[in-house]
């Protein structure tokens, strides 16, 4: 009979690690509950949408090692379909968001199953190319409204009951969607499935030799990531009542990379912090016009050369905890 040996050192460490995540989560929730009373609620809601988007992107780069440079496809197309569903089909917001999310899932299945056939740098180029293709499609098809986008999307009544035109009701909905998405990602990362993903990130050949069908794992991770990006995009469309070409074009794909990189690739809370930082910067510096692009570029360069761990990664490393 074998006895299960628990190494007291690693055991206590891992307990402390989980605790550090729990504490950070509590701080985040508290901050998000207080935030609308301190700053503009609309800004916080928008930032939460982008944070969810960045978390979805980070699921791929941070935990599977796949750099998708075309996540605007899922964000943007979900945003278009949700906006169309709410405005033209007259669906309630939760159904519109669901329709948008499912669109992103479908796009993720198609683009993902093709893109995972190539590794590393080719994967990044492939995803970017597919996103550009769907950008051109969005430019062509009628329902997206071309350069104008879909404007004046009604926020509607949640479940046909709760009026979302008020900021507080909308805030609660966005907060719940964000937290649900975040917890789902947290659950994925810490599940046996997530462990296999990390094994693929570290050494795909080894994972294959251990009998894992890595392509299936990669595809499922890709579809989950695309779906969550779609959830973020749909929510954004209902929240800001607009879907436009900006959401589906390549700078959006670059922006979500930037947010995750600034916060810390492969950290759980990094993309959230990164989104708030980048979005706040863009709000504050909007008057600078094209210089915002230059500043984004400088941040990219600085992050890659000087702090590849990102804000949260550096803090976690300094405190020797996992965040």
């Amino acid at each position: 009979m074998t006895e299960r040996v628990v190494d007291p050192l690693t055991h206590s460490q891992s307990a402390w690690r989980t605790r550090s995540e729990t504490i950070a989560f509590a701080i985040m929730v508290a901050a998000l509950v207080v935030a609308p009373f301190i700053t503009y609620p609309l800004f916080v809601m928008q930032a939460m949408c982008f944070a969810l988007f960045a978390c979805a992107f980070n699921l791929l780069i941070g935990y599977v090692g796949l750099l998708s440079f075309g996540h605007a496809l899922y964000f943007g197309w979900a945003s278009y379909v949700a906006a169309h569903a709410a405005k033209v089909w007259g669906l309630t917001p939760e159904l519109a968001i669901l329709t948008g999310t499912l669109t992103a899932v479908a796009c993720g299945v198609i683009a993902g199953s093709l893109a995972i056939r190539r590794q590393g740098i080719y994967f990044a180029m492939t995803t970017l190319a597919f996103a550009q293709m769907m950008y051109f499609v969005a430019l062509r098809v009628k329902f997206t409204g071309g350069e104008d986008g879909i404007q004046g999307v009604p926020r509607g009544h949640l479940f046909g009951l709760i009026d979302l035109r008020g900021e507080s009701a909308m805030y609660v909905v966005v907060l719940i969607i964000f937290l649900a998405g975040f917890l789902l990602i947290y659950r994925i990362i810490h599940s046996p499935f997530g462990e296999v993903l990390k094994a693929i990130r570290e050494n795909e050949t080894r994972a294959i030799s251990l009998g894992y069908k890595t392509d299936r794992y990669k595809l499922l991770a890709f579809v989950l990531s695309a779906g969550l990006a779609g959830l973020a995009g749909s929510t954004k469309a209902i929240l800001l009542q607009i879907a436009s070409l900006t959401d589906v074009n390549w700078p959006m794909s670059g922006e979500v990379v930037l947010m995750s990189l600034v916060g810390g690739l492969g950290t759980i809370f990094g993309p959230i912090v990164g989104s708030f930082v980048i979005l706040a910067m863009e709000y504050k510096l909007a008057f600078l016009g094209e210089w915002v692009l230059v500043i984004q570029g400088v941040i990219f360069v600085a992050c890659v050369l000087l702090f590849r761990r990102g804000i949260i990664g550096e803090i976690a490393n300094w405190l020797r905890i996992r965040l």
Binding site: M125, Q132, F136, V257, G297, V301, V304, R308
Partner: protein, 295 residues
């Protein structure tokens, strides 16, 4: 004039010519990307910005020094090549030991910086650049009108592409380059300055992009956005062709330009997406790319 499949011959051959011209830009750019990737292991996202800088340099040379098209064709690539050398020395050389992804992210950041600065000073509307006098006009071939400048672009790009291929595959310096791609440590042990070769390779790749940019200036307007739109299509070209072969990159580039041109004639709605559709098909049928080696 006659018609082919119900399309007037002038329209068909005209689009074919435009396709060949776009194809020559695809070929020049994907060639540069392949050469840089071979030596530096970096996908150069800045390539589109360097192409744009070539066109912009030609415009500025004309505006402020009065230097016309022909001197620009030499000076603009030199200027952009030197800038490339600076970029390699200051930024890229720290990344060679890291994951490929960081190279992509860093060069993406540099592209944003270059594009942002250009947009600030030159706006997003295109700046016109006149055709050189010596290449004005054209010939009427009966079935189509053949502008001189377009012929020149195709001939010049093809010449530059194949010269590059010749230097890399058939000369001593090319042999050093290929050896350094395979095993830099061993090549260094033979007393060859590999880091300097890497720097010069990046400068050369940037200069190639700028050369394409100068040639594009009279056809398309000079605009800060011209690079970022092109580079993504070139990425698809690279995925289709694979970066293992120089000749493969050249052929794929020209071929896709032609296919795109023909699509414009027969199915105009799909002309902007056809390259990506081909990429999807290639990924299905031959995942390692047409000329790629299995990774």
């Amino acid at each position: 004039m006659f018609t082919i499949f119900g399309v007037p011959s002038a329209a068909l051959f005209g689009q074919l010519l435009i396709g060949l011209i776009n194809g020559s830009f695809y070929a020049l750019l994907s060639l540069g990307l392949a050469v840089i990737f071979g030596m530096l292991n970096i996908i150069n996202f800045t390539h589109g910005a360097q192409y744009m800088l070539g066109a912009l340099a030609a415009y500025l040379l004309l505006q402020y020094t009065g230097l016309g098209y022909w001197p620009s064709l030499i000076f603009a690539p030199i200027v952009v090549g030197l800038l490339g050398i600076v970029i390699e020395r200051f930024f890229l050389q720290w990344l060679y030991k890291l994951d490929h992804l960081y190279g992509l992210l860093l060069t993406f950041g540099l592209a944003l910086i270059i594009e942002g600065v250009s947009r600030h000073y030159f706006g997003t509307a295109g700046l016109p650049y006149a055709l050189p006098d010596s290449l004005q006009g054209g010939h009427n071939l009966g079935f189509m009108f053949l502008p001189n400048y377009r012929v020149w672009v195709i001939v010049a790009s093809a010449t530059v592409c194949f010269s590059t291929w010749f230097v890399i595959e058939r000369t001593r310096i090319g042999a050093y380059l290929r050896a350094a791609t395979e095993n830099p440590t061993l090549v260094r042990a033979f007393g060859i300055n590999v880091p300097r070769m890497i720097t010069l390779t990046y400068g050369f790749g940037a200069a190639l992009a700028a050369f394409a940019g100068v040639m594009a200036a009279p056809i398309y307007n000079v605009s800060p956005n011209m690079g970022s739109e092109l580079i993504i299509v070139v990425f698809a070209v690279v995925v289709i062709g694979g970066m293992g072969s120089i000749l493969g990159a050249i052929i794929t580039g020209f071929a896709l330009g032609v296919v795109e041109g023909l699509t414009k004639v027969f199915f105009p709605e799909a002309s902007s997406t056809v390259v990506f559709v081909i990429m999807a098909i290639v990924l299905l049928v031959r995942p390692s790319g047409l000329f790629g080696r299995r990774a």
